[in-house]
């Protein structure tokens, strides 16, 4: 994109450079979202409202992505700690407000829009960790690791208490990836994983009953096929019955006849697999993989620590979204509320994700020519 000296560039590429757009990433994202609209139309029982809503969010998200792409990465590095602090405060507010409302409280009502601070933290945490390591020598010293770990732990615990285990795990993953990419020593990494494993029973006893139920059901789906196991059983039926080529768009009986619960949100992948078959699924996985690889390439080519860690952790976290959602829908992982990125019906997570991609574009397009 820096080859402006080679004759007359086409007006399109000039325009792209001007607006700091990474064409390949954009095309992949738009393909994914476009596909998502078709899947959602089918999954929602051909609801036009759902499509209009989702398209609106998509528009907002893409706009956010473009805006984010215009801002130089250095600004984010500077803003990251503040964003992190603001996010923690909002999480605290949610926790306080949540004590008054019954059950799980994840929303913050800002009057004009309802906002999920936990979603925001999925981006703020890795940014903050990356910013922290930006000026420090890598691989990180022990004290830096502890500092970063605390940085990750605070929002994780707050989100986990909401309780939103899925998002909490994703926040850990995002922060953890930044730490990992920063050069966390293998021995320390191993130690942390072992500690996590050791903490699992502690986690178990602090889980709500429905969460324990999900884990038990995951371990043995036949335990209660009409109750907790119903989701996963119906999901597997939907996917399996799709076969190699699928039942065809709008022909998935599992979703249309309401056998498949949450077919337009967390279980939307099952609808897609039922209607598009294994071939469609492989194509979707290829598309996702392309996005991840493109993100990692941007990270590898970026010019400073903050950019590298940010771009890398965004890309890896995106993969984790995909893996956790699909793994859960096909019965490899317990049911945790993680949407299928760019496709599931949902507002905040979509906008945050697209904003994150905007950051990738910003990193990719704000190169300092002198540096290399």
């Amino acid at each position: 994109m820096v080859a402006a000296t080679h004759g007359e560039p086409s007006s399109v590429s000039e325009w792209l450079v001007h607006w700091r757009i990474d064409l390949q990433l954009l095309l992949a994202i738009i393909s994914c979202c476009g596909l998502g609209l078709f899947v959602l139309y089918s999954a929602s029982g051909q609801s036009q409202d759902v499509i209009v809503n989702q398209a609106t969010r998509l528009g907002v998200g893409l706009a956010a992505m473009l805006v984010v792409a215009q801002i130089p990465p250095d600004w984010y590095r500077v803003a990251a700690p503040w964003a992190y602090v603001a996010g923690v405060i909002m999480l605290g507010l949610v926790a306080i407000l949540g004590a008054t409302a019954m059950g799980a409280q994840r929303w913050l009502d800002l009057g004009f829009v309802r906002f999920q601070p936990s979603e925001f933290m999925k981006l703020a945490v890795p940014l903050c960790v990356a910013a922290y390591f930006h000026d420090r020598p890598l691989p990180p010293s022990l004290s830096d690791i502890v500092a970063a770990a605390i940085m990750v732990a605070i929002p994780t615990v707050l989100v986990g208490l909401q309780p939103d285990l899925g998002t909490a795990l994703l926040i850990v993953a995002a922060g953890g990836f930044a730490l990992y990419l920063a050069g966390l020593r293998w021995r320390v990494l191993l130690l942390l994983l072992l500690m996590a494993a050791a903490a699992a029973p502690l986690l178990w006893y602090n889980m709500h009953e429905y969460q324990q139920e999900r884990v038990l059901t995951f371990l043995n789906p036949a335990r209660d096929p009409a109750g907790a196991g119903y989701h996963i059983t119906q999901s597997k039926i939907a996917i399996g019955s799709g076969g190699m080529f699928g039942k065809g768009w709008l022909n998935g009986s599992q979703a249309h006849l309401n056998f498949l619960p949450e077919s337009d949100t967390d279980f939307v992948f099952a609808v897609f697999a039922e209607e598009a078959g294994l071939l469609g699924v492989l194509a979707l996985l290829a598309l996702y993989s392309f996005i991840v690889l493109r993100g990692l390439r941007i990270a590898a080519r970026s010019q400073d620590t903050f950019q590298r860690l940010t771009a890398g952790s965004i890309s890896l976290t995106f993969f984790i979204y995909v893996f956790v959602n699909i793994g859960m829908v096909i019965g490899l992982l317990p049911v945790v509320g993680v949407p299928l990125p760019l496709i599931s019906y949902g507002g905040t997570s979509m906008v945050i994700l697209l904003a994150a991609f905007g950051m990738l574009m910003s990193i990719n397009t704000h190169r300092k020519l002198l540096s290399t």
């Binding site: 000026d135 420090r136 020598p137 890598l138 691989p139 990836f177 990992y180 990419l181 050069g183 119906q234 597997k236 039926i237 939907a238 996917i239 399996g240 019955s241 799709g242 076969g243 190699m244 009986s253 599992q254 249309h256 006849l257 309401n258 056998f259 697999a273 078959g277 294994l278 699924v281 492989l282 996985l285 993989s289 991840v292 690889l293 990692l296 990270a299 590898a300 620590t305 590298r308 890398g312 890896l316 993969f319 893996f323 699909i326 793994g327 096909i330 019965g331 490899l332």
Partner: protein
Amino acid sequence: MPADTPIKNHAAERRLFLVRTIVAGLLMSVMLGVLITRLFFLQSVKHEYYGTRSDENRMRVQLAQPVRGLIYDRNGVVLADNLPAYRLEIVPEQVDDLEQALARLGDLIEIRDVDRERFDERMRKEPSFRGIPIRLNLSQTEVARFEVNRRNFPGMEIRAGLTRHYPLGEIGAHLIGYVGGITEQELLTHDEKRYRGTNHIGKTGVEYSYESMLHGEPGSRIIETNASGRSLRELEFNRPVPGQSLYLTIDAKMQKAAYDALGDNDGAVVAIDPKTGGLLAMVSKPSYDPSLFVDGISHKNYNALIANLHRPLFNRALQGQYPPGSTIKPVMALAALETHIIDPNREVWCPGFYQLPNSERKYRDWKREGHGWLNLTEAIFRSSDVYFYKLGMDLGIDNMHRYGQMFGLGEPTGVDLPRENSGLMPSRAWKRGVRNQAWFPGETLNTVIGQGFMTTTPLQLAQMTALMAQRGEGRRPHVLMASEDPVSGSLQSVSTQAIPPIHLKNERHWGTVIKGMEAVVHAPRGTAHYYIGKDAPYRIAGKSGTAQVAGLAQDEDAPEFEDVEHRFRDHALFVAFAPADDPRIAVAVLVEHGGGGSSTASPVARKVMDAYLLGTRVAQTQESVSW
């Protein structure tokens, strides 16, 4: 260099990052591989399994009930058919306030407690979008009244179905039987596939015997349903195959004639076409209304039927076992002739009683003063007991048993109707087996006049008479004449079965006995002459019988008929066939506690034969039967 001054080696950091990225990339490839493997397993390896599960999820099979075959008489008069019946169904989810709606509904049509109970029970079991009947068998008036107000009752609808209907009512109840709600017990013994989705099954009579032909084959509807079970569309419909329609050998106007002929008496009439064995009429009185049972009989009605001392549910024609009395004498006479123990022309003195050698006990003739000198013919038409006592002593129980069996006594006739009884033709072996006693000569005397241990069903008597009429060449009694294929409409007639023929050493003996039976009706001193013989326009061969219900003490005079309490009165019997020279009908009549066989039973037989041979009553019956 101070320790807290960060020193960054950018090239090294970059290398570090690349290594980390590559490791992560490898890890992601493995994870992706796991996902793909799992998806391949689900979508390719187990595709068939999950495809089936998916279809099971969405498809429901509803069975479509076949239309039950109709039952006709030999002339095509309907004996059992299916009439539209209207029921009122409620879809609970479409009714806002069920209690209030039901209260308003109760003002229009009657809702009994039983209706409400049945409704509540089904409402608990079925999803709320399914129609549940609140009332069955609505009258025309109720249908009209509801339809006028139907917009006030959202979620309620009148639905039409078919219900079994028996035009003959109680006249044909024992013969045709009835259908009723299928029980779990019956489901166990029938092909479950055929009866899933069926509500009714034949319980007795022809409806029971020919259940498998009448029932038909259920069809099926494959319905796509959503997760809550609501039907969305029909994917497939296999039409049910209606049951076969049956044509019976019964003649509806004969059936009515026989029913009417019995009047207010309890009893039974069986009329057979002796050439084919086909039953022309089979009546048992008192009877009951078979339609009571179709949609479940109420406890009140059922208890009334059970408590009735006249036992209306009891089919006397097949199940009633009565001493045949003197109606058995022609068979005994034939046995005696064949075994050469009598000369039909030799006269025997009848003093009015008989004494066994070395015994004081007097076996009385029904006529106390005696009949005087009698030959065989006279002994038959005047029904002398003494003549037959002597004959019986010479004949012996073994011969009686042998000939009785030839005429089908003591075992079921094998008629194609359920729950037939066998009667009893006693023998030495029987008495040894059942009572562990030797056979006594006095019992021989009782047997020869159709008393004592011996019992027969009216159907057996009719079969015996038909065999006599056919001179031993009989056919098994049956009611099914033909069946009609529901699809092609072609008639398939039922082949009749021969009974092992009775071969006499001297065929002339048939004529001898039949002559005696003709004289019963036509000789001026014949027992039935006064009652049916004087004006008979055709030759009838018959035999009366009077079966004692209460035994008389030695030397006791038989009391006058009117003085006997009804339940101790004798049973009256009469068997006959006509025309005597070319028999077209054989009849057995039993009138419980009717007194004399000739006086009470023979007129019944005459009316039945008249109806068949003369066609009298035809005009009346056709009107009344074919409504």
